[in-house]
Structures are given as structure tokens and as C-alpha cells.
Amino acid sequence: MKRHKINPRENWQEKVEKIGFGFHTADSLYWDESVYYEFSMEEIHTIEKATYKLWDKCLEAVQYVIDCKLYKKFHIPEWFIPHIEETWNNDAPAIYGRFDFSLKNGVPKLLEFNADTPTSLFEAAVVQWYWLQDFDSSKDQFNSMHEKLVEYWKYLKKYLYDYTLHFTCVKDNLEDLTTTEYLRDCAIQAGFTTNFVFVEDIGWSSERKEFVDLNNYSIKNIFKLYPYEWLVNEDFGKNIILDKNKTYWIEPSWKMLLSNKAILPILWSLNKYDENLLASYFDDEKFMLENSYVKKPLLSREGANISIVKNGEVISETDGEYGEEGFIYQELCELPEFNNNYPVIGSWVIGQEAAGIGIRESDLLITGNLSRFVPHLID
């Protein structure tokens, strides 16, 4: 893995905007093509292999949590447990997830799994691919995400209701809307009839006992870029189980178990000393990590409320509003450093397959909302 400084394309902003990428710059630069990372094919194979393996381990871990009824560890409301079990037992359609890896000394280490609402999909699947066409189209990239998304939507068609596939996300956020609309684009290419409704506009018909869109049409299949922990705690949350249609929510609710950091100690307990896992524990066993560890909230986003403790001292920490549900403690694995830049590799699972990577680079050891998306190639 090498980091290269290069000159961005002339008028790069215009180029990325032309393909629909409007949030390349926020308060600071988000899409950064003044840099790229180069991987060897061997490194890519290592990441790919780890992604396949960990996906299998995650499915085993979900079964274990369900069999052993470990829901309290995840702070999941009791009334929602039957829904989780039903979606798991019925193999309800799921489409994607993103493992975040630290790649140091050639071994990917799992930092966390964004299994419910992973973002940076459009940047990884489309924007960096177009960048490579301009930069050096003879080079390869670990990125077959677009084809895999279209193909997997096609595959899922027979497992969903023969009805419109709705898409939803919050209003007034271009990043979320872009990710959602990109997935809708892929679904259209797979042959779905689609519709879009902002999550705030989803209606509940108490007469018909169903969710409806703005035209009062039933919602029976819906992709949501909106986390379950928010859905179930909001006013309409309990309507999910009252819904007469038994709507297919994508991702399905069993993904709540994988998107929760509580899955990390579970994975470790089931696969101790796996080279791609970091030792992780709940509060009662954190002494196992002695005085160097990373403290993470069960539920958090954009690197919020994380503390890195090394030799008993906090060397980095972030603020935020998370942590109410509790924390897990993970073995300290400092990210690789390239001139004070710290990359995290997001490795995507589309359907059941490893599909490509996207890199977020930060000035800090904790990858937060100011980190930059940086393209890559294989050489």
C-alpha cells in the first residue's frame, strides 16, 4: 500500500459534478484526488479474502446471538425482537454492507462493520471509477460494485413483493440523497418500478394498517437509508410490527445486530485469535485489554464518542451524542500512517460478495466526518 501525491484533474469539480457528485466539498475538502493509494494485487486479494471470511463469520454470529437471545447486549427493544427473528428466519433481502479495515503490515484488521446504513457508496462505486478512466484507464481498481448492485437487485426481485420498490432517506442532506438515488438508479436498471419518498413524508394509514407514500400508495418494499435504532424509537416505530403488508425493509431488521458494535466482542468470543479480528470485550471484561484500548459506543456515527487509550493515557478522543446504550472495548490497532495521514479501507459486500473498496483518509487516528475520500488503483 503506497500513497502518491498527484495533481488533480483540471476542473475536477466540474467533472465530478457532471456525474452527479455534488458534495465533493463541504466545510473542507471531502473528495481528494490530489492523492491516491496504490495496492498490489496480493494486498487486494488479502482484503477480498478477509471480506468473504468476515461476512461468513458475521452470519454465524447473528445466528449465535439469536440462538442465545443475547439481545440485551445490543440494547434492542424487546418488542422488536420477533421482527428481527422473523426477517432472519425468512432470509429477508439484504443488499450491502461495508467492513472498515486497518491495513497494517499486510493484514486487514476489522475496526467495525457498517451493516445497516453504510454511506460513501456512490463515491466508491462511481466517482473513483471515473477518476481512474481519466487518470490511467490501463490500471485496475478493486471496484465491481456497480455491476454487482445491478445484478443483485435483479436477483432480489423474486424475493420481494411484485410491486413498486420505494426508496427513502432524510430531507435536506445531499450525501444521503445521493447514496439513496444511486441505489435507486441501480434498481431501475435491474428492472424495478421505483418511487421515492422522504422518510419524514412516509405516512401511516391507521385504517389500512399500512405505510403509504405521498400519493397514499402502499409501501410494500422499501430501501431506507435510515438506521433501525432511530426507526424503532420514533413515533411510527411500532407500526412496523402492526403493518398488515409485512413490508420488506431493506436492509432487513436482523442487520441491527451487525451494525451494533456489540457484535465485535461476540465475533471475538466466537473466533478468538482470528488474524482479521481485534480482541474486543464488553465492560465486564475490559481488563483483558489492560491499559491500551479503543472505547467505542454501541451505536455511533462518523467516529463520534470514541476514545483511544494507550498505556493508560487518552491519546485521542471525539465528542458526540452517543454512548447512552453503553460501550465496547477493542484492542488498540493504530492505523497505518503516511505523512500524518491515516487511511481506513472500507471493503464492500454487495449481495454475498466482496465487491470493492473505498478509502477514507484522516489527519487523526479517529476517522470522523472531516475525513477525505481518496481514490485508489492496483498496480
Binding site: N11, Q13, E14, E17, K18, I19, G20, G22, I44, N114, T117, T119, A125, V126, W129, Y130, D140, F142, N143, S144, H146, C169, V170, K171, D172, N173, L174, E175, D176, L177, E181, D185, I188, Q189, F196, F198, V199, E200, D201, I202, G203, W204, S205, E207, R208, D213, L214, N215, N216, Y226, P227, W230, N233, E234, D235, F236, R301, E302, G356, N369
Partner: protein, 103 residues
Amino acid sequence: MKKSKIIHLVLISAAFASCTQQKPKNEKKVYMRSDTTAGYSHILGPALWYYAFRPFGIYNNGSYQRAGYYSSAISERANVGSNPFKGSVVRGGFGSSTFHVSS
């Protein structure tokens, strides 16, 4: 080979085929809905992507300054209101948790 052979986007390519790509002049607001009751499904094809995603910026002596996004022009008023068909339908029961999702 690991990379995609070709990437084709139907929403956005259709949008660009049907719209000019000129930078807006003084027009900064494009309302997705013109009243308080109509759904926005009539523009849910290419136009949603086009209006919501198309940022506009200004090049000045080679430097780029972003002026904004069309998405900021989506009126809050466009998403409230009532009509006879709504009947027992209640809205707004989702979406109150926080501002956006990125993870």
C-alpha cells in the same frame, strides 16, 4: 480484472439528456412541488436527481467557488398539508432523530 467495465447511470444520464447544463444565472430556487398537497412523484424520474444533485458554482480566475445546491431550494412547505385522500393517514412519524446518516 477487478474493476467495472462500464458504468451507466439511468437517472442522471436521462436528466442530462433532457436538460441543458448551463449554469443558472439568477435563478436559485427550483421548487420540487408547486403546492402543499401534490406529491412530488411527477418529477421522480430524472428530474429529482437533476434538481436535487446539481450543484452550481463559479469559476473565477481558475479557482472554484461553490455557490450552493438546488436541493436547498426544496421548500419545507412542499411537504406538509392535507387533502381529502389523506383520510386517516398521518405523516411525520419518522425522521425526527437527527440530521443525517453518514456512517
